[in-house]
């Protein structure tokens, strides 16, 4: 027990010490974790014998355990992708990933054969291993910077998704490349595989069967289960169930030799349409972050400094060569995908490293006697080093390329920009904020816009918008945009969580600022009401109500009657939404917020409230109503 505490203190302490520092230096948290891991590795070597442990063995164990972080990350990514959306991406996935993996593997194989005189089998194994990039580093960096929805971000994600799928056949192919019979021992890096003893024709059926099981599980069993747990109102059981679900699917996938990450990704995509999506995300998020951090640290800790020092120049040359080669292939793939300059740069810088799957595949290849242990050891260092360099490439992209591309025409403008602070700031100029901005510009009001979509900024700047690049939740950016002088602040970003965070921050620290906030859905609106925000705009509320008005008119209602019917409905709904917002945050007898009331957001509840609206106003428009007047006149006659 004491040992476990010491190890935990070492890892957590190092992370706490170095990750904020790395962030402050703008290096990104991934590099922070890797460096912290490197230091842990050194310290562990000294401490482990004293604790009676083998440090290499320990790190391997921790690495396997924390791989669960990568699995959780893919589950969360899956939750944010609707199945229909994934289907739409299929061509990009095939183009981006297929071309990248095959071309990279082929080129590396040639180099291995002709440059290092290795057999084609070894070359192919190395090529396939190194063609894969690091989903963990890329996706967490894209999320951290808010670039996941840019064109370059999506292209990167498509390629990564293909790679994650490609791991399955690669694992199957590598044992076939063995030129000598296996030494036995470790069969598969993943551990137990029940399919090994099955006849070959049965294996694909088992795989298909497993995916069907995942589908049925996610589609039909999860919702009733979560309903049952939600009714019990025990927050920690809900979290347990969420983690349990991911574990079950990951275990199932591992058992049949599939990538657990891919399995939970599929489950995530299926659950993205569940009403518990948001709840699942929130519950898993902290575990994902922590485990992912430890995973990066184990990669850093496993870094073999002795071997690195011994083969210093070879390893440097191999690493640079690998990254240049991968970058070049990605450059070509980017051209095929017709990415524009900024997005193109992000794409080929982001994916130019070896990934965590390389460690798994190298272990497998050594176990199957495909690759000699010495070569694998060198390659492990190359992969780890390329992973450590990646955050620096992201930094180069953000600080140099983006600045250069975006501010190309800024130099001459800067002089008159300094004193100019607009009254209106719009955070997020995508499909929502852009319309707000255009309306204002149309009426001669200048706006300052904040966004992190480089392509969008490029275009808007050409039309004279004053756009700042970056995450609007950053204080320095808000200051640069002139938050102190602003009169109105429009929050129109895509991500509801960032919207709520920014609204809360501005509401508290700039109370005089007039906030206008976009709410993506009802739940977001509830949070904003709770904060005391006055101007809340539910995204589809206006347009869908307008459509309803048009349909009423088509059904024979007079235009003005339909207009009033729409306005009255909106008014009543607004009042009820406020009421629902209150009950959403009601607390139980112990004072805990009943977060399970997420259920409030389901369709049945909204419909029930419509019935309430009907009773409330008798559904009749009483404008210009003559009944009481006619009654009056009728009575006069009777007198």
């Amino acid at each position: 027990m004491t040992e476990a505490f010491i190890i935990a203190s070492l890892f957590l302490g190092m992370a706490v010490l170095l990750v904020p520092l790395a962030n402050r230096l703008n290096l990104g948290s991934v590099l922070g974790y890797l460096i912290a891991g490197g230091l842990v590795g050194v310290v562990l070597k000294l401490v482990a014998p004293w604790l009676g442990m083998d440090s290499a063995h320990l790190l391997e164990q921790l690495n396997h355990a924390s791989e669960f972080g990568v699995v959780l990350m893919l589950f969360v990514i899956g939750l944010e992708i609707q199945p229909s959306h994934l289907w739409k991406m299929k061509i990009t996935i095939l183009n981006a990933g297929g071309l990248q993996v095959s071309l990279t593997a082929l080129l590396i194989m040639m180099i291995a054969m002709f440059g290092f005189a290795l057999s084609w089998q070894v070359g192919l194994a190395i090529g396939l291993t190194l063609a894969l990039s690091s989903t963990a580093i890329i996706m967490s960096t894209l999320n951290e910077k808010g670039w996941q929805n840019t064109i370059g971000g999506k292209a990167s994600f498509s390629a990564l998704l293909f790679q994650d799928i490609a791991v399955i056949p690669i694992i199957a192919v590598i044992p076939l490349l063995a030129t000598v019979s296996p030494q036995g021992g470790e069969h598969l890096a993943h551990g137990i595989d029940i399919t090994t003893h099955l006849p070959d024709w049965l294996k694909p059926l088992v795989v298909i069967g497993a995916i069907v099981v995942v589908y049925v599980l996610s589609r039909y069993l999860i919702n009733p289960l979560f309903d049952y747990i939600a009714r019990a109102r025990q927050k920690e059981i809900f979290t347990t169930a969420a983690l349990g679900l991911v574990s079950v699917i990951a275990a199932l996938m591992s058992l049949i030799g599939l990538s657990p990450a891919l399995g939970v990704f599929i489950a995530g995509v299926i659950l993205s349409e569940s009403e518990y999506r948001h709840e699942l995300e929130v519950d898993i998020e902290p575990f994902k972050g922590l485990l992912l951090g430890i995973f990066f640290m184990t990669v850093g800790a496993a870094f073999n400094f002795t071997l690195f020092a011994a083969q210093f120049w070879l390893i440097i040359a191999l690493t640079v060569g690998l990254m240049v080669l991968k970058g070049l292939v990605l450059y070509i793939v980017g051209k095929v995908l017709r990415l524009q300059k900024i997005e193109h740069a992000l794409f080929f810088l982001a994916l130019a490293q070896g990934g965590e799957f390389a460690f798994v595949l190298l272990t497998l290849a050594v176990g199957q006697s495909v690759i000699a242990p010495a070569i694998a050891d060198t390659l492990r260092i190359v992969v780890a080093l390329s992973m450590a360099i990646t955050p620096l490439l992201f930094l180069y992209y953000e600080k140099m390329l983006l600045k250069k591309i975006l501010q190309g025409d800024d130099v001459q403008r800067q002089a008159d920009d300094i004193d100019e602070h607009n009254k209106v700031i719009i955070a997020g100029v995508g499909r929502f904020g852009q319309i707000v901005g255009r309306l204002l510009q149309f009426n001669q009001f200048k706006v300052t816009a904040l966004d992190n979509d480089a392509n969008m900024i490029d275009t808007l700047r050409k039309f004279g918008w004053k756009v700042f690049f970056g995450d609007a939740t950053r204080m320095d950016l808000l200051h640069a945009a002139g938050i102190e002088q602003a009169h109105c602040f429009v929050i129109a970003m895509d991500d509801p969580e960032k919207v709520i965070d920014l609204a809360a921050y501005l509401h508290e620290h700039h109370p005089k600022l007039n906030l206008f906030v976009r709410a993506r859905d009802r739940t977001t609106a509830y949070h904003l009401y709770q904060l005391g925000i006055r101007h809340i705009y539910r995204e589809t509320f206006e347009s869908s109500a307008s459509m309803g008005e048009a349909v009423l008119k088509q059904l024979g209602m007079r235009a003005y009657q339909a207009k009033r019917a729409k306005l009255r409905y909106q008014h009543e709904d607004e009042i009820l939404t406020r009421k629902m917002a209150q009950s959403y945050f009601e607390k139980d007898e112990k004072g805990h917020v009943l977060n399970v009331q997420e259920q409030l957001d389901n369709v049945a509840n909204i419909l029930a409230n419509d019935q309430h609206i009907k009773q409330y106003s008798l559904s009749q428009d009483t404008g210009w109503d003559e009944h009481s007047l006619i009654n009056d006149l009728g009575n006069q006659k009777a007198d």
């Binding site: 007079r558 235009a559 003005y560 404008g623 009654n631 006149l633």
Partner: protein
């Protein structure tokens, strides 16, 4: 022949007995255009250029509306405020509406007795009269259809009511016909307080 524009404004036409009596079945023809303002502009975004083009294309402007608080419904007032611009309808050199004919066709909840003495209908409609005069238009006495609410309240004999409504409907058609065929103008209507008086007199002459 004149071209007649009926500018109709009623926020709840579907419940208006009198306006439906007058307007139902009245289709726009080559000579008469019926323009339903509340149906066109439910959000009050009046297209001024379109409206002025309509005015330019017609010789007679009929305001058809109920009397709300001794005036017209809000949208018609908005129409007046926006369409009758300075420099177009009035002001130096503005002559777009000059010599065109203006006439109100009013429906009312009360009956004729409610608009006697101090609440004389001609006095109540002075704002419209002055508007027409400022635009150098010919102003004709108003045509009035009374008693909408009292009819609904059942204050009158049913048979008489039916006769009255039929008569008003025919008189309104006749009025439009007179306007199209240029039988009436400001000069030959000076003797009448309302168009209703003119129709009454015509009937006496017939008898």
């Amino acid at each position: 022949m004149n071209k007649v524009l009926v500018l109709f404004a009623h926020p709840v036409y579907q419940t208006s007995l009198l306006n439906r009596t007058l307007l139902e079945g009245l289709e726009s023809t080559a000579q008469v255009t019926v323009h339903d303002l509340y149906e066109h502009y439910p959000d009050f975004m009046i297209d001024v250029a379109h409206e002025q083009n309509l005015l330019n294309a017609h010789d007679v402007i009929v305001f058809q509306h109920p009397l709300y608080w001794y005036s017209c419904p809000a949208l018609l007032k908005e129409w007046m405020d926006l369409v009758l611009e300075h420099g177009y309808a009035y002001g130096t050199g503005a002559n777009a509406l000059q010599d065109k004919i203006f006439i109100s066709s009013i429906t009312s909840g009360g009956d004729a007795a409610n608009y006697a003495g101090e609440r004389n209908i001609r006095d109540l409609l002075k704002p419209f009269e002055h508007t027409a005069r400022l635009c150098n238009m010919q102003f004709l006495p108003p045509f009035i259809t009374y008693g909408g609410l009292k009819i609904k309240a059942g204050n009158f004999d049913q048979l008489l009511t039916k006769e009255y409504l039929t008569e008003q409907r025919e008189r309104f058609r006749a009025l439009l016909d007179d306007l199209v065929h240029q039988r009436i103008n400001e000069a030959n209507c000076l003797a009448f307080d309302t168009m209703n008086d003119r129709f009454d007199q015509l009937e006496i002459q017939h008898d």
